[in-house]
Amino acid sequence: MAKYGMILDLNTCTGCRACQAACAMENQTPYWANKFRTHVEDITRGQFPQVERALQPRLCMQCDNPPCVSVCPTGASHKTPEGIVGMDAGRCMGCKYCIIVCPYEARFVYESADMKKAKQVYGQTPKAAAVDKCTFCQHRLKKGEEPACVSTCLAGARIFGDLDDPESAVAKLVKSGQAQTLRADLGTQPRVYYLGNVKGRKG
């Protein structure tokens, strides 16, 4: 079974947000309520002219030690055999404990107002008003397609593949040590890595 992982290249993410748009359409999420399965942080640091602007795509890290699964009282939040952190909307009781403990702000909850509008916009609603999150577009993986955000990324800043396949781009980058996870200190063991500013590039 493939161990899916993703690498986000901070050197080339241009903050275009095509990934946010593609994901919303693919997964029919309530974009009108600012609820996204993936988003791009736009962070300013420092003072002009030494000011830095960081564009950082974010999504569920599909952790191997996921706090959201540990705390879920119903088992709605669970690890699938492919290692994706899945959500069984039918089991979710909306306690939002998972939202509180996720260090990556990867989850949101479908309110009933969102369900109403989703019916209007998409013609259908999710199974239930529950907590929602990125699934690495599991439905597309089954068809041999990449997640929508990866497929649409204009800059080629999202790299996706099998971390267990030594020939894959993701495996090679992880092995090289160039790819880092966010908040590795928390022990969540993310499957999403970042390529930071290549040493010596800025100058």
């Binding site: 903050g15 748009a21 002009f48 830095e52 602007r53 916009v121 100058g203």
Partner: protein, 721 residues
């Protein structure tokens, strides 16, 4: 280069450059045009990326060197780079000698800064027929034919070895001459990093470093630009950028400025017909534009015995000692006056009686919205028709509104993939119409029919596009008889035509275009081999060479007198945002330079009323929709993010409202707004009331070369409201 506009005709090959210099071009990264991937491919390979921008745009955030230049001062920095390349001798001498008019002999004009190119002019056509170079081997001046794609042969076929630097004391027809290259070198030799630093307000060391890098790292590439903030100096600024690119030899080759496939195809067809003595119907690049200029200027071309609005208005302006437009190409110059009854021709009123806005929004996207609102409302203008998909701001002034189809429903003809290096044909596969919109062609054909000009219109369309008129007529007749839209039948006609040209079965093309939406036609390598410009076919310039000396611009001097705006080599134009304000002068506490540009989620005003894009925009709040201002001056004005403010054009007192966004990402002396916001029509669903309307601040002031709207040529005063 002979291109008319780089946006549609030139592709910068970022992917293969080792250093990329970008100015005024955030869209290279944030617009979904194919450029993004090529640019990031170059970055992934380790290219240096130098971005000149007063604010830290998305593109600037990816730069290895960010030069936060004062708005409008880019040319000063570019001139230092140009000088450095010339003085170090790291230009592509072979390319310049063989394929450009750099070695052509020129002389100083009797008066003023103008440089005149030595040439023989054909009496009948008024066009140049000969130029002159100094031949290194023959040790004398030899004549070169015009037009030609290069300088390697005399008209007789004898080989030529042109020199870039003529020997001292050389004369031609009794006048001292030097090469265009020598004149260019002389013009730029005095520009220093220290001088540019004072104007652009970036460190001289940074300018020196960038100039060194552009002069030494190869291949080097200047971003050919997209849509930018415009100044009186914009034309000369981009000339300077193009000169750098040409001196690098980066023309129609890897890591350079590559003509797109449709331009190259059009160009080779044009020259094939010209060489066989024929008259081409469609012209590439500047030849198309020159054709347009001919319509502008020559009475023989006025189909209704009267010139265009812009021509009449321009002549009125020049006569009154004011700036007209030397070369009008969709500039909207003079339109408001012609609606308001303020234009006359030969003593008669030149009054526009009908305005048909076809899928455009000048009230929001052109100069001064107030000017358009007054003009379109004028009692002297009886009828305004508009044709659009949404109730945008200009439609509020229409008497009759015709519904356009959305692009999703519309049977479009085939398109060339413009920003693709390989040649490809693109087709959109429409959904079944869900609105009551009508295809534009259906409307125009029906109008022509009701005017009793059906045949004439069909033949005119065929003539313009180079189609078989009889075939087209059959297709149109057929569509109308069956009550269908012309859209898809026309597309089928074009597919059949392409299949014939490509010698492939129609079914194959139909299948590819229907299933994939794109049909690759020819790889870049093959295109360049067969039709590289100017290596195989001449460039679409008056001389056929790449012109460091613009003969087209020299023509303007002949016609209108010298203006630095159209100096045929290059002229430094001091930025002058308002009378008396020099670049080194401080601004008042509440006064700022003004810039506008691209936010990631809005490419055009026409995409503003889109629920998804607006949600993505509003998610970022004032960061996307506000007026960017550095805390240094914001603090003094008592402003924090979210505060309602008013901006006032310091020259014209035009005003606009917005919300402050206080950020370190911009120069303290500059403000920035997103270009595509500020919609007013309450009939729109999500766009109304978001952001600041750019053209509430932009004056009806056109620069004199091409009638460009000067969207940055002023300062603004800001106050809390």
């Amino acid at each position: 280069m002979g291109s008319f506009n780089s946006h549609d005709e030139i592709v910068s090959d970022y992917a293969n450059a080792k250093i990329i210099l970008s100015l005024r071009a955030n869209a290279s990264l944030t617009s979904a045009s194919g450029r993004t991937r090529r640019l990031t491919d170059g970055l992934r390979k380790g290219a240096k990326f130098v971005v000149m921008d007063p604010r830290k745009s998305e593109a600037a955030s990816k730069a290895t060197t960010w030069m936060p230049v004062k708005p409008g001062t880019d040319q000063a920095v570019l001139l230092v780079i140009l000088k450095e390349i010339i003085q170090r001798g790291t230009y592509d001498a072979e390319f310049l000698k063989n394929y450009t008019n750099a070695p052509f002999l020129c002389m100083a004009a009797p008066q003023g800064p103008m440089v005149q190119m030595a040439m023989k002019v054909d009496e009948k056509t008024g066009k140049p027929s000969e130029f002159y170079v100094y031949d290194e081997d023959k040790k004398k001046i030899v004549a070169l034919p015009c037009p030609a794609n290069g300088n390697l042969k005399e008209a007789s076929g004898n080989p030529v070895s042109p020199l870039l630097t003529a020997p001292d004391g050389l004369t031609w027809q009794g006048k001292p001459v030097k090469t265009a290259f020598q004149f260019l070198s002389d013009k730029v030799k005095g520009f220093t990093a220290e001088w540019a630093a004072k104007i652009a307000d970036v460190p001289a060391e940074q300018i020196t470093q960038v100039a060194n890098d552009m002069a030494t790292i190869r291949p080097a590439l200047v971003d050919s630009g997209w849509y930018d903030v415009r100044y009186a100096s914009s034309i000369q600024t981009w000339r300077t950028a193009a000169l750098i690119q040409v001196l690098l030899g980066g023309v129609d080759k890897e890591a350079g400025w590559i003509y797109n496939a449709s331009t190259r195809e059009l160009n080779s067809n044009f020259w094939k017909i010209m060489r066989s003595g024929g008259t081409p119907k469609m012209a590439p690049g500047m030849y198309g534009a020159i054709g347009q200029a001919a319509l502008f200027d020559t009475p023989e071309n006025w189909k209704h015995d009267v010139p265009t609005v812009s021509k009449v208005w321009s002549d009125q302006q020049w006569a009154a000692g004011k700036d007209g437009v030397a070369f009008d190409m969709a500039s909207y110059a003079g339109y408001p006056e012609a609606m308001l009854g303020k234009v006359s021709y030969n003593g008669q009123p030149y009054q526009l009686k009908l305005v048909f806005l076809t899928a455009c929004n000048p009230v929001r996207t052109s100069y001064s919205d107030q000017t358009w609102k007054e003009a379109l409302s004028s009692p002297t203008l009886p009828l305004v028709i508009a044709y659009d998909v949404e109730p945008q701001d200009s439609l509020l002034y229409a008497d009759v509104i015709l519904p356009d189809q959305t692009y999703l429903e519309r049977g479009d003809p085939l398109y060339e993939a413009e920003q693709s290096l390989d040649r490809a044909i693109v087709a959109r596969n429409p959904i079944k119409p869900i609105t009551d919109g009508r295809h534009m062609l259906d409307i125009f054909i029906e109008l022509a029919n009701r005017f009793g000009k059906y045949e004439m219109y069909i033949r005119g369309m065929a003539d313009f596009f180079g189609w078989d008129a009889d075939v087209l007529k059959k297709v149109v007749d057929g569509a109308r008889a069956s009550g269908k839209s012309i859209g898809l039948p026309l597309r089928d006609m074009l597919i059949a035509g392409n299949a014939k040209k490509m010698n492939k079965p129609v079914e194959q093309l139909q299948k590819a275009l229907t299933e994939q939406g794109v049909l690759p036609v020819m790889k870049l390598e093959e295109q360049i081999k067969e039709a590289g410009i100017p290596y195989v076919f001449p460039a679409p310039t008056p001389s056929g060479r790449i012109e460091i000396y613009s003969i087209f611009f020299a023509g303007f001097t002949k016609k209108y007198g010298y203006k630095p705006n159209w100096d045929p080599l290059v002229a430094y134009m001091t930025p002058d945002w308002k009378p008396g304000l020099k670049p080194e002068d401080p601004l008042a506490e509440n006064e700022f330079y003004f810039t506008h540009g691209h936010i990631a989620t809005m490419s055009h005003t026409s995409s503003a009323d889109n629920d998804l894009l607006m949600s993505l925009t509003k998610e970022q709040g004032h960061h996307y929709t506000g007026v960017w201002m550095n805390p240094k001056k914001a603090r003094k004005l008592g402003l924090k993010t979210g505060d309602a403010i008013e901006l006032e054009n310091a020259n014209t007192n035009q005003k606009a409202r917005g919300a402050a966004y206080v950020t370190e990402l911009i120069r303290p002396d500059t403000v920035f707004i997103a270009s595509a916001l500020g919609h007013e029509s309450k009939q729109l669903t999500t766009a109304v009331g978001v952001g600041t309307a750019l053209n509430k601040l932009v004056p009806y002031k056109l620069e004199p070369v091409a009638g460009v709207v000067q969207t940055g040529q002023f300062t603004v005063k800001v106050r809390k409201v």
